[in-house]
C-alpha cells in the first residue's frame, strides 16, 4: 500500500543501519586503521585517561570551513597587455616612410625605426627636417608608403624603449589655500637624454637619406605634408 | 514551373515500372528545358502523363542528363513551337530566336511570351525546338540580321555616370 510513499530515511541511511546489523561496519573500521599516520609531532600527554601521547599536526587545520561550495576559478587563456603578441603590418619594415594620420604630427611623413615591446612604432621625422621628434606612434594611425630608406646600418641607443617615452608622473604638491586658483603648471621640458639621442639618430637617418637614389627630393618629400586632393580616394590609391 | 536565370537542356529517359504482365515496358525520352534536374524530371512526368497512360506513381526515370550545345560559339536561328493558355483560350505558336544555344532560345522565348502576351511559365508548354535553316526562316525581324552586310549605328547613347553633376554647360557626348 505504501510502496510509492516517501521514505522517512534516505536509502543511504537505511543501508548504513542494515550494514551495522550485518557486521559490515566492522570491516570498514578495520580499513580505516590502515590509513597513513597523520603528519605531525608526537607529544606525550599526561593524565591516565588521555592515551599517554598524541599527534600535534604540523599544519593547523583551518578553523573555518565554507558552508557553500564555491565555483572554482577557471583557467583563463587571456593574457594581460604585457603578454600580448603585437603584430606588425608586413608593409611596415624598418626604414619605411609612414604618413602619420593622427595626433600633433598628423599629415607628416616620418621614418619608421623599429617596433617597441608595447607594439607601438618608434618613428622620427627626422626632427631637423619636419619637426617630428623621436616618438611612439600606434600603427593604426599610420599609412605605410612604398618608399623605403635603407637603415640597416643605423645603431639605435638601447635605452629607447617604452619606459623611456613614458610620461614621468610627478606627485602633486599638497594644495595650500593660497594657491588654490594659481596655475602651477610646469613648463614641459625635454630630457637631455632625448636631446642627445635625437641628434644621434637624426644624424644617422640623414646619412641614410643621402644614400637614397632620390636623395635630392627626399628631404623635401619628408618636409611636405600629406593631404587628399579633389577626386582622390585613399582606398583606391597606392601609397 | 519557374524560369530562374538561364534554363538548361536535359534529356530525360523514363518508363512504366516493369510488372508481371509487362516485364519490358517501352522507354520514352524527352528533351526538357528546365532550371535543374529536379524540375526536369518533374516536367517529364507532367508531359508524359498527358501523352501516355503512365504516372510518376508507377513509373521510373532511367536517366536524366544535361545536354550541351555542339557549337555554342556560332549564332543560329531557333524555331520554337509552343502551346500556351491565355486568359481567353489555348493557342499554338511558332516563334523564332537568334541565339547561341537552344537553351538560351527557350529562355528568351519564356521572357518574350511574358512580355508580349503576359503568359506565365506555368501556362506555356514547349512543344518543339529546332534549329532553322537560313532559307526557311519566316520572321522578317530575324531575317534582317542574317543578311551578309548588316550594319547599323548606335544612335543617341547616354552614359549614365554615377556621381556626375546632373546639369552641365557642355553638350553630352552621345556617340561612343
Amino acid at each position: 500500500m505504501h510502496t510509492n510513499s516517501y521514505l522517512r530515511f534516505s536509502r543511504k541511511v537505511i543501508l548504513h543501519h542494515l550494514s551495522i546489523y550485518e557486521g559490515k561496519d566492522a570491516a570498514r573500521n578495520a580499513k580505516a586503521v590502515k590509513r597513513k599516520p597523520a603528519k605531525g609531532e608526537t607529544k606525550k600527554v599526561g593524565g591516565e585517561k588521555n592515551g599517554s601521547e598524541r599527534i600535534v599536526p604540523a599544519q593547523k587545520k583551518p578553523r573555518y570551513y565554507p558552508t557553500e561550495t564555491r565555483p572554482k576559478k577557471l583557467v583563463s587563456r587571456k593574457r594581460s597587455f604585457n603578454g600580448h603578441a603585437h603584430k606588425l603590418r608586413p608593409s611596415i619594415t624598418p626604414g619605411t616612410v609612414l604618413i602619420v594620420l593622427a595626433g600633433k604630427h598628423k599629415g607628416k611623413r616620418v621614418v619608421y625605426l623599429k617596433q617597441l615591446r608595447s607594439g607601438l612604432l618608434l618613428v622620427t621625422g627626422p626632427f631637423t627636417v619636419n619637426g617630428c621628434p623621436l616618438r611612439r606612434v600606434n600603427q593604426i594611425y599610420v599609412i605605410a608608403t612604398k618608399t623605403k630608406l635603407n637603415i640597416d646600418n643605423i645603431k639605435l641607443p638601447e635605452r629607447l624603449n617604452d619606459d623611456y617615452f613614458k610620461k614621468k608622473k610627478t606627485r602633486k604638491a599638497p594644495k595650500n589655500e593660497g594657491d588654490l586658483f594659481e596655475s602651477t603648471k610646469e613648463a614641459k621640458t625635454v630630457s637631455p637624454e632625448l636631446k642627445e639621442d635625437q641628434v644621434n639618430v637624426d644624424k644617422q637617418v640623414l646619412e641614410a637619406i643621402s644614400k637614397h637614389p632620390d636623395h635630392k627630393l627626399f628631404t623635401g618629400y619628408l618636409k611636405s605634408i600629406f593631404w587628399l586632393k579633389k577626386s582622390q580616394f585613399p582606398h583606391n590609391m597606392i601609397f | 514551373m519557374r524560369v530562374r536565370g538561364e534554363l538548361k537542356q536535359y534529356m530525360v529517359y523514363g518508363r512504366h515500372t516493369p510488372s508481371a504482365t509487362e516485364s519490358n515496358p517501352p522507354i520514352f525520352k524527352m528533351n526538357i528545358f528546365a532550371n535543374d534536374k529536379c524540375s526536369a524530371k518533374s516536367r517529364f512526368w507532367y508531359h508524359l502523363r498527358s501523352l501516355k497512360k503512365i504516372k510518376k506513381a508507377h513509373g521510373e526515370i532511367l536517366m536524366c542528363k544535361l545536354v550541351g550545345e555542339k557549337k555554342p560559339t556560332v549564332v543560329k536561328t531557333y524555331g520554337v513551337w509552343l502551346r500556351y493558355v491565355s486568359r481567353s483560350g489555348i493557342h499554338n505558336m511558332y516563334r523564332e530566336y537568334r541565339e547561341l544555344t537552344a537553351a538560351k532560345a527557350v529562355t528568351s522565348c519564356y521572357r518574350d511570351m511574358g512580355a508580349r502576351h503576359r503568359a506565365r511559365p506555368s501556362s506555356i508548354q514547349i512543344i518543339r525546338v529546332k534549329q532553322v535553316e537560313d532559307d526557311k526562316v519566316r520572321r522578317p525581324n530575324i531575317k534582317q540580321f542574317m543578311k551578309p552586310n548588316v550594319r547599323f549605328p548606335l544612335p543617341h547613347r547616354v552614359n549614365h555616370k554615377l556621381y556626375v553633376p546632373r546639369f552641365s554647360t557642355k553638350r553630352p557626348q552621345t556617340k561612343f
Binding site: I99 | T73, L154, F176
Partner: protein, 155 residues
C-alpha cells in the same frame, strides 16, 4: 531630292569586323572584334589577342572604335588572330589618343606617394621656367610700348 545617307553621319557602326572596346564586365578594358551580329541588342565578339573568349555581349557594354578588320562573318578564332596580327591592330590602337589616355590614367593610378610628390615638383619646375620666359617677353614688350609712347609724347 537629296537622299540623306544616315550612315555617313556616323563613322562608327555596328558591323562584322568592327573593333570594340569592352567597357563593362569581366573583360573590361580589353579589345575585341564583332564576329557576328545576333540581333539589335547583342553581338558575338572574339578577342584572341587580348584574351577575350568568344562570347555574346550587349551593345551597352561595349564602345565602338574607329577600326574595322576585313573579316568574314563568323570567322574562326585562329584566323581572326592572324588577321589581327596582319593588320597590326595593337600598334594602331596604341597610337590613338583614346589608348594613350587610358595608359596615362593607369600609370597615374599606379604611382606611389613619393612618385606623386616627384611629379608635383617637376610640374612646379616647369611652370617656373615658363613663367620666367613669359615675364621676360612681357618685360621686353612693355618696354617697347613705353618707348613708343614716350616718342609720341615728345612729338
Amino acid at each position: 531630292m537629296v537622299k540623306l545617307d544616315t550612315y555617313k553621319l556616323y563613322d562608327r557602326v555596328v558591323e562584322v569586323g568592327r573593333v570594340v572596346f569592352i567597357a563593362y564586365g569581366p573583360d573590361r578594358g580589353k579589345l575585341a572584334v564583332i564576329v557576328d551580329i545576333i540581333d539589335q541588342n547583342r553581338a558575338l565578339i572574339d578577342g584572341p589577342a587580348s584574351g577575350v573568349v568568344r562570347k555574346e555581349i550587349g551593345y551597352k557594354a561595349i564602345n565602338l572604335t574607329r577600326f574595322k578588320l576585313p573579316i568574314q562573318k563568323g570567322i574562326c578564332t585562329k584566323a581572326l588572330k592572324k588577321v589581327w596580327a596582319r593588320e597590326k591592330m595593337e600598334e594602331k590602337w596604341a597610337g590613338t589618343a583614346w589608348a594613350k589616355k587610358l595608359d596615362s590614367r593607369q600609370k597615374r593610378e599606379a604611382m606611389s606617394d613619393f612618385d606623386r610628390f616627384k611629379v608635383l615638383k617637376a610640374k612646379q619646375a616647369r611652370t617656373r621656367l615658363i613663367n620666367e620666359e613669359f615675364n621676360k617677353l612681357k618685360a621686353s614688350a612693355d618696354s617697347s610700348k613705353t618707348s613708343k609712347k614716350s616718342k609720341k609724347a615728345k612729338k
